[in-house]
């Protein structure tokens, strides 16, 4: 009987120690933080260029820290924000687009457009990452993806 007790106690202890019975793989949790509205936040006419650019810088910093910063044709959103800031300070009406080596290309966009794009890129990087936490499984064969 003593042996039986000792085996039972040992089994219980061992199961607890080895983490048996618990799911070894954590399921991604959904964060219920507030969803940002890019249309309202990035409206240059309603908020003014400086404010929208500040919004872009604020949210892009978070996007960058979370590894979801946008990049378009070799130009990161940080570069969009920096180049727009430079244009605003110098009074230029256009923002010259950069190539992947950071050198100026022949292409340019208006300061308003660059500001709005930088803001939309910053905000949607975050909203997309937030949405992605709940939607990614829909693309996994054997999970949410049915065919």
């Amino acid at each position: 009987m003593k042996k039986l007790y000792s085996v039972l106690a040992a089994t219980g202890l061992a199961l607890v120690m080895s983490g048996c019975g618990s799911n070894p793989v954590p399921t991604p949790s959904s964060d219920k933080s507030e969803i940002l509205n890019e249309k309202t936040l990035c409206d240059v006419n309603a908020n003014g260029i400086e404010n929208v650019l500040a919004t872009a810088a604020k949210y892009n910093k978070i996007a960058k820290a979370n590894g979801v910063e946008f990049k378009r044709l070799g130009m990161t959103n940080t570069q969009y924000i920096d180049e727009t800031n430079k244009a605003l300070k110098s009074g230029a009406k256009k923002v010259v687009l950069l190539n992947k080596k950071g050198k100026a290309t022949k292409n340019s966009v208006s300061v308003e457009y660059a500001t709005q794009r930088a803001c939309k890129f910053a905000v949607s990087a975050l909203t997309q990452a937030q949405d992605g936490k709940n939607t990614w499984k829909a693309a996994v064969p054997g999970d949410g993806f049915k065919y």
Binding site: S6, T135, D143
Partner: protein, 306 residues
């Protein structure tokens, strides 16, 4: 009594750990099998199943470019497993592959570097990476293992994307292919399973300003045409790395070879996002997941791609 409990506890814990070791890959194995079933079903008869898998492809395209009844192991060739036209030009290039001299160069590099030889006494190891290191509690890729080895020996790190790194990896890959080695990725612990899951989430999550996930093109989009290229499939995608891309080697042959990290960074840029650093946890876990999806397939590298 107490001694008995301690002895039995140790025995049962050890046995339990051994049993569990085989169980941490349960979810990964389910994922891999589901991906295999999906890929095989998709390419069984593209013309017949066009409504289900290829709604936007033309009949001519499906008839002339997509092979039928492809066996699971054939997908180790990447998109050349199914693309008839792609395979035609691939076979022509393979007659005199541009990476051949780079494999020889890789062998010379191996033979002349004592540190590398001591860290990697066996050279047919390409299928064993990435692995999860219990002591480091992180994924180790072949790239990170080579650089760690160099640093330990007081040598400078190599570029993780091109140059010496893929050249040495091409030698390892070639040796593995010659020895008929298979991709053999293990998930030995709960931490490893969690790393695998994070890699999987990264692969299937939409990102960048184009809102594409890797899966958009390489799972749901596999076999579909972008301009004149057929998109490759995730199932079997890592077996043939490092690859020589004609695009990369157009100015200098030695730059044509690239690591899997180089390719993935390019792919993530194409999605419209700043890619994670090549040696970051995110990148390594992404590669861990991808490599697991090719588990059991023949190592088939190095290879050539456009």
């Amino acid at each position: 009594m107490l001694l008995n409990i301690i002895k039995s506890t140790t025995l049962v814990a050890l046995a339990s750990c051994m049993l569990n070791a085989g169980e941490f890959n349960v979810q990964a194995e389910k994922d891999r099998k589901a991906l295999e079933d999906y890929t095989v079903a998709k390419f069984q008869d593209a013309e017949k199943n066009r409504d289900k898998f290829f709604p936007y492809s033309t009949d001519t395209e499906l008839k002339n470019n997509i092979k039928k009844d492809i066996k699971a192991e054939e997908f180790a060739m990447g998109n050349y497993a199914f693309s008839i036209q792609g395979q035609f030009s691939y076979n022509e290039i393979k007659e005199m592959p541009p990476y051949e001299e780079l494999i020889e160069l890789g062998e010379e590099m191996y033979n002349s570097n004592k540190a590398i030889q001591s860290c990697f006494p066996k050279t047919d190891i390409a299928g064993d990476y990435p692995f999860f290191s219990q002591s480091k509690n992180e994924v180790v890729t072949l790239t990170s293992a080579i650089n760690d080895c160099l640093v330990k020996a007081g040598q400078k790190k190599w570029n993780e994307k091109k140059g010496k790194m893929p050249i040495l990896q091409a030698y390892f890959s070639f040796q593995s292919m010659e020895s008929e080695k298979k991709v053999d990725i293990k998930i030995p612990s709960a931490q490893a399973a969690a790393a695998y899951e994070r890699g999987k989430e990264y692969y299937y999550t939409q990102r960048g300003y184009l809102k594409l996930s890797c899966a958009t093109c390489h799972v749901q989009g596999a076999g579909k045409r972008v301009r004149n290229e057929s998109l490759s499939q995730l199932f079997g995608q890592t077996t043939h790395f490092p690859v020589y891309r004609l695009k990369w080697g157009k100015d200098k042959v030695a730059n044509g070879l690239g690591t899997l990290e180089r390719r993935m960074a390019g792919c993530i840029k194409d999605q419209g996002q700043v890619p994670p650093k090549t040696n970051s946890e995110q990148m390594k876990e992404l590669l861990y997941f991808m490599a697991y999806m090719s588990n059991g397939m023949n190592v088939d590298g190095p290879d050539v791609r456009k």
